[in-house]
Amino acid sequence: MNKSASDTIAAIGTKPGEAAIGIIRLSGNKSVKLTEKIFRQKNRKKISQMKTFSMTYGYIVDKKEEMIDEVIITLMKKPKSYTKEDVVEINCHGGMAAADKILELCIKNGARIAEPGEFTKRAFLNGRIDLSQAEAVIDLIRSKTEQSLKVAANNIKGIVKDRIEELRKRILDVLVELEASIDFIEEDLEVTPYEVLEKNVIEIQKSIDELINDEKRGEIIKNGIKVAIVGKPNVGKSSLLNVLARKERAIVTHIPGTTRDAVEEILYIEGIPLIIADTAGIRKSKNIIEKIGVKKSFEYISKSELVILVMDGNTQIDDNDCEIVEELQGKNIIICLNKIDLKQITSKKEINKKFKLNDIIEISAKKNIGIDKLEKKIKTLVLGEEEFNIESKIIVNNRQKNILLDASGMLKHAIKAMKLKMSEEFPSSDLKLAYNLLGEITGQTTTNEILDGIFGKFCVGK
């Protein structure tokens, strides 16, 4: 099928199961006429006669004039709509089934199902938003957590664009100096010393790397990380999950081997979504069911980004503990020394000495002791020491991050050339590439910025 940008497109605007009402959104030349065909209301007023940004109540009917659902219609006329085209929104309250049916009717009457993000694409193509804003909207549609909603909202406001523009400006400032000393050598210009420029480039490169790191952390905040709670039987793994989840998620008994199949839960710790799994206690067992459970525990270990190893402070360290630690080589781990409300038979020091592991936290899952410390530890391990307030951070998307990585590489190359005292045109060549790369993020067009900069800054001319 030939997908043209002039088709009228339709899509369900709410995700399945997310809301009680379903929204069907239409955009394009035929969206008004098409809606008139399937919409009825008492006063028989035409949608085309409605004012823009007004609503009307009525119902949707099928070919046989049978009512499908009661709806509210909102009309946004071009060009002041999201896509700069005529947009109609049909709010039905029959849930997904009704929404599906209405969408089907729209298609039968000449609309085409929108591709993912196509409304935004049209908004972009029709010049309503720039590239970084368009990407932010797509992120917004796809974001799962509340935090990532905030990030996406920031990007719509154009924060990414502002930040990239600022970085470009800083690169431009260096370029202006470098180029002035090449093209205007005959003049008596007071150009900034090379060493100072080198420092500036190092600073710019750092700023770009910060953005890249923030993206990585932002990614964690948006999509969460996988965590496994592991340990030998009866150390209190299920109890720990329950206290972290603040609900009775997993069964807790005094019988070792209670948990047989892993229990998964999504929970937030300090704003970080954790996809956390309580696993079967690991020990040598002959029981087939338990064996399968243990095998699964190992699978969880290998696919998690963070492992919480639980040990029982009320018992001796044994072979089981040792084997598990062995298994965790190269993983990100936190050790919880549990049951500190009871008599301590194994101490923090001992574990530290025996396994050479540092991140050990004493807790009681039963009495809710040390859990706040554990939560803090998880946060610093995942996001780093310093405060990471995502709302104040600029989080770029994946495409933007890749461009930033390239730009950072160019700047490193420039710094190397400057360290070697190579002449100005060499770092300049790297900087220009970095400058243009950043322009790709914001969709800038080319102009004579460098020469304008030189003439603005220096007294040039003979």
Binding site: I182, D183, E187, D188, S423, E424, F426, G443, V460
Partner: protein, 632 residues
């Protein structure tokens, strides 16, 4: 021959104007065997340098050498008439180094005129053109103010600042092409009638003073180089007379004179309203715009061997003459200097160059070309380069051959023309190296390697010259190969040498190629040590086998390989959209998705390729994607 007969001659090409553009255009056409007429208002002012008596400079050198590589005249005439030659940016890399030659102005004019007079197929003639003549809608020639008509199949307009020229000094102004010369009034009206859009620019020149009245002891001497050099690839190198220039500075007193009299400056009084070149501002403007600057440099340059006139580069002004005298006398060494000619500003009509194709033929009328300052450029070099391209293309078209379209990726001349026809022009256009995105490739030293083949294919480069270039290239390539294979041992001797030239020692046997990659290692040192002393069989006396140019380029190719390859990759990437032709007669306002700004700009510039479109200010990468989809 009487007038009657003259009008019966059918020329192939008529060039209007004998400045730097006109001369190159006429010479190219005539040399390619086309019957060419060049008309000028004043035959005593052929190839005049009305501003500074110099050729070259950073960026401009590339233009001159590229022109030379393709068979242009400028570099050759410069070599013959220069009185001082200097290397600029010597401490920088080869891509941005440049030559600057002080020229004996009068000799240059005489020499260029002589060359033209002795070129077969070329006729020089004095006269003021007032109209372009058509026959059945096709260009048929030009008519003069005197009523005479000349027949020609193609016309190249290279009238510089003459169209509706107006000279301003202080509060006086009068119509003139240059100081003391007639303007061309009617031709500009004729062009407008034909549908061309003209705009107005302004430029200015400093006063000239009498050498006998200057105290050079108070100035800094600026000598030329004492090593054999030449501008042209085809001339042998030699050491020139080297008449020095001098450097002095303005001071607070100078600036105060300007401030006190600023209301008399034409830029303030409103006598001059149009844009002038930012790279060449008047001293008035410099003092106003850069208030904190305590001094501005003034270069005192000789205008020639046989004249006492000295050019005061840096003191451009069109203040009233008495103020100019005060200004000049406030500068160290110029206290008693007598002005011989005052500085002045000139305002003139130029053609908005977006009305031209890459061949410099107008989009509006076939076989009508424009080149030089009339296209809104400044500088003799920029003019000459365009003149050559227009001339060659006029000839190629008459011969029914493929046009000469230089690319951004092979020459600064390509950059110049592409910029002119796709970018907004706010001021007279001057070349800079920063205008090229392939600066490390488009070097002055390899202009012959880049372009001589083109000149040879057109027919403006002799076979023997072309072969020289090929041989040189082969030598460079084999030398690079040899240096990759020639390894040196990490013995005490060699390491001692490496230490001495300030680079780290080696502990395994290493190729010379590898050593040359180090920025601090110079090919000259290496060759002296390894090949001269030790007498390796094949290059015992390397000086005999490899002249300076070859060693230099070998070193560049090795040392900057990474950078050069990256630019080549850039060219390859751009190649796709560069070669993507845009069909004519597109209504950009009907393309959905383009921003309004892009629609407007594309309609204005009517780019020939997607590459060109991508360089138009206001057309974003997103617009280009949409255009690409539309063109599919």
């Amino acid at each position: 021959m009487n007038f009657e007969d003259v009008t019966k001659i059918k020329y192939d090409v008529i060039v209007v104007g004998a400045g730097h553009a006109g001369c190159e255009a006429a010479l190219a056409c005539a040399r390619l065997g086309f019957k060419t007429l060049i008309l000028t208002i004043n035959l005593d002012k052929v190839a005049l340098m009305p501003c500074n008596p110099a050729i070259g400079g950073v960026g401009k050198t590339n233009l001159v050498l590229e022109l030379d590589a393709m068979g242009g005249q400028m570099a050759k005439t410069a070599d013959k008439t220069l009185i001082q030659l200097r290397v600029l940016n010597r401490s920088k890399g080869p891509a941005v180094q440049a030559l600057r030659a002080q020229i004996d102005k009068k000799e240059y004019e005489i020499e260029m005129k002589k060359v033209m007079e002795n070129t077969s197929n070329l006729t020089l003639r004095q006269g003021i053109v007032n109209k372009i003549i058509f026959e059945k809608g096709i260009i048929a020639g030009v008519s003069l103010e005197s009523g005479i008509i000349f027949n020609g199949k193609a016309v190249i307009i290279t009238t510089g600042t003459f169209l509706r020229g107006r000279i301003i000094i202080g509060n006086k102004d009068y119509e003139a092409g240059r100081m003391g010369e007639y303007p061309a009034m009617n031709l500009t009206y004729n062009l407008k009638e034909l549908g061309f859009i003209m705009d107005r620019f302004q430029t200015a020149t400093p006063p000239r003073v009498d050498k006998k009245t200057i105290d050079f002891l108070k100035m800094f001497i600026q000598p030329g180089e004492n090593i054999p050099m030449s501008f042209s690839f085809w001339n042998s190198k030699k050491v020139y007379d080297n008449i020095p220039s001098y450097l002095t500075y303005t001071n607070e007193k100078t600036h105060n004179i300007i401030r006190e009299n600023i209301d008399k400056s034409p830029i303030r009084s409103g006598m001059v309203k149009t844009h002038g070149p930012r790279h060449c501002p008047s001293i008035d403007r410099k003092v106003i715009n850069f208030e904190h600057k305590k001094r501005h440099p003034v270069f005192v340059e000789p205008e020639g061997k046989y004249t006492n006139e000295m050019y005061l580069q840096g003191l451009t002004t069109s203040m009233p003459t008495d103020i100019q005298q005060l200004l000049v006398n406030s500068v160290a060494g110029l206290e008693d200097a007598k002005i011989i000619r005052p500085g002045y500003a000139v305002e003139y009509d130029f053609l908005l160059p977006n009305q031209l194709n890459h061949t410099l033929e107008s989009k509006l009328l076939e076989n009508l070309y424009f080149a030089g300052q009339i296209n809104g450029t400044s500088g003799y070099e920029e003019a000459a380069a365009q003149g050559f391209v227009a001339g060659v293309n006029a000839a190629l078209k008459l011969a029914g051959q493929h046009p000469l379209i230089l690319k951004r990726s092979n020459s600064y001349i390509g950059v110049l023309i592409d910029d002119l026809i796709t970018k907004e022009l706010y001021e007279p256009y001057r070349m800079y190296t920063s205008r090229s995105e392939y600066r490390l490739l488009l070097r002055p030293d390899n202009a012959d390697n880049r372009l001589t083949k083109i000149g040879f294919d057109i027919g403006l480069i002799k076979n023997s010259d072309y072969e020289k270039v090929i041989k040189k290239q082969q030598k460079i390539e084999s030398l690079i190969e040899m240096l990759g294979e020639y390894t040196i041992n990490p013995d005490e001797h060699n390491n001692e040498f490496l230490k001495a030239i300030g680079t780290s020692t080696i502990d395994t046997s290493t190729s010379i190629y590898k050593l040359l990659k180090r920025p601090e290692v110079k090919i000259d040192n290496i060759f002296k040590y390894f090949f001269e002393n030790k007498g390796a069989d094949n290059i015992k006396t390397y000086n005999d086998n490899y002249d300076k140019d070859i060693l230099e380029q070998t070193e560049i190719n090795i040392k900057y390989k990474g950078y050069i390859e990256r630019e080549m990759l850039g060219i390859k990437r751009m190649g796709k959209i560069e070669g993507h032709k845009i069909r004519k007669n597109i209504d950009y306002f009907k393309i959905k998705g383009l921003t309004f700004e892009a629609q407007e700009k594309l309609s204005k510039y009517l780019p020939e390729t997607l590459g060109q479109a991508s360089r138009i200010a206001g057309v974003s990468p997103a617009d280009i994607s949409i255009l690409m989809i539309f063109l599919k």
